[in-house]
Symmetry: C2
Subunit: 189 residues, 2 copies
Amino acid sequence: MPAKPATRGRPSSRDAMLEAAIAVVTEQGAARLTLDAVARAAKVSKGGLMYHFPTKESLLQALVTRAIEHTQQSWEQAQRRLPEQPGRGLCAYVQASTAERPDLDPFSSALLAVVPGDPKLLEPVRAYFKERMPALSEGVPFERAALVYLATEGLWLLELVGASPYTRSQRSKVQSLLKRLAAEGGSLP
Amino acid sequence: MPAKPATRGRPSSRDAMLEAAIAVVTEQGAARLTLDAVARAAKVSKGGLMYHFPTKESLLQALVTRAIEHTQQSWEQAQRRLPEQPGRGLCAYVQASTAERPDLDPFSSALLAVVPGDPKLLEPVRAYFKERMPALSEGVPFERAALVYLATEGLWLLELVGASPYTRSQRSKVQSLLKRLAAEGGSLP
DNA sequence: ATTAGTGTACCGGCTGGTCGGCTAATTAAG
DNA sequence: CTTAATTAGCCGACCAGCCGGTACACTAAT
């Protein structure tokens, strides 16, 4: 068993375990997110799993941390692709949040599923949300920024739970509306 | 058999048990929502609890149903207080969802906490969301309705998880903006 | 030989669920 | 009206399985 020696550096099996956990939670629900299930999904024994995450809580914390990092990275990436202009941060946020279909963003999905289980897991999320706020609304009048931000968040939630009522064309209309408003375009009909 | 008491029933301890469940989940998290905990919180023995909810899943289903009913009722109530005008439904929705006290809506909070545990619990929520949509956007141009709806949903979510970045005055500004937009007011700065 | 990483085996407690019995109220019988 | 039978509602002891966690042996690479 040449356990993937590939390159020195980060323990890739740890990441594999985290992704296995994400798979379990998205496929079977948070209630079935058990250590054995994660170990099974990661094709590792429980001992191997417990080596990297000495506690279930540590696993969950790592999950939350990873989801936050992923969100942050995809925002930065979207921002890098945009020209420097007022509303750039907000526009990048809209783009990052509405770009991939939510079933392609299992990180956030797992986050939303796992966090309610233990109130302590909420704190990093709260902190991140409050911390990133200024960068988002920078250069955009308050009301407009708030509206776009909240609507993006709402769309994200609705699609995450599969309760979005919009057809594909409606959705793209909403999406472009958000981008337009973020970039400081006109008003709405 | 619990025999749904339709109309003519005592304030039934069944409801008390459901509210105990809500209390447990909001205070201790979804992971600690155990039958024993609910029974303890409801000051009832486990047998007594199991009499009304033969299964834990049935308890959760009842919780979800109750949360949905509560949401629907508070929307209808808000609507009744509003004059007949275009955007009335949407306006009532904004009002009901942004009512001053997010911590006083433990129903939705419990819903959001419990649902990720079992994917099957999502279906009623999905159905309700899609069903109520037409009544909400009635009489309001699509883009405006979508924007207000999504932003309201986003604000609801942020406040539910305690990640709202807005001060009290900012929040009330956002709130009145949403109402204005829903009622067909002007555009945004 | 040491150490990082994994496997195997096990345990104690908790959890969902069952079961028979208790109590008070309602109904049926006399 | 009295009494017996039924029933709804609740109790609490119990159980079988699962879950998180521990202990330790093993392997490969340093």
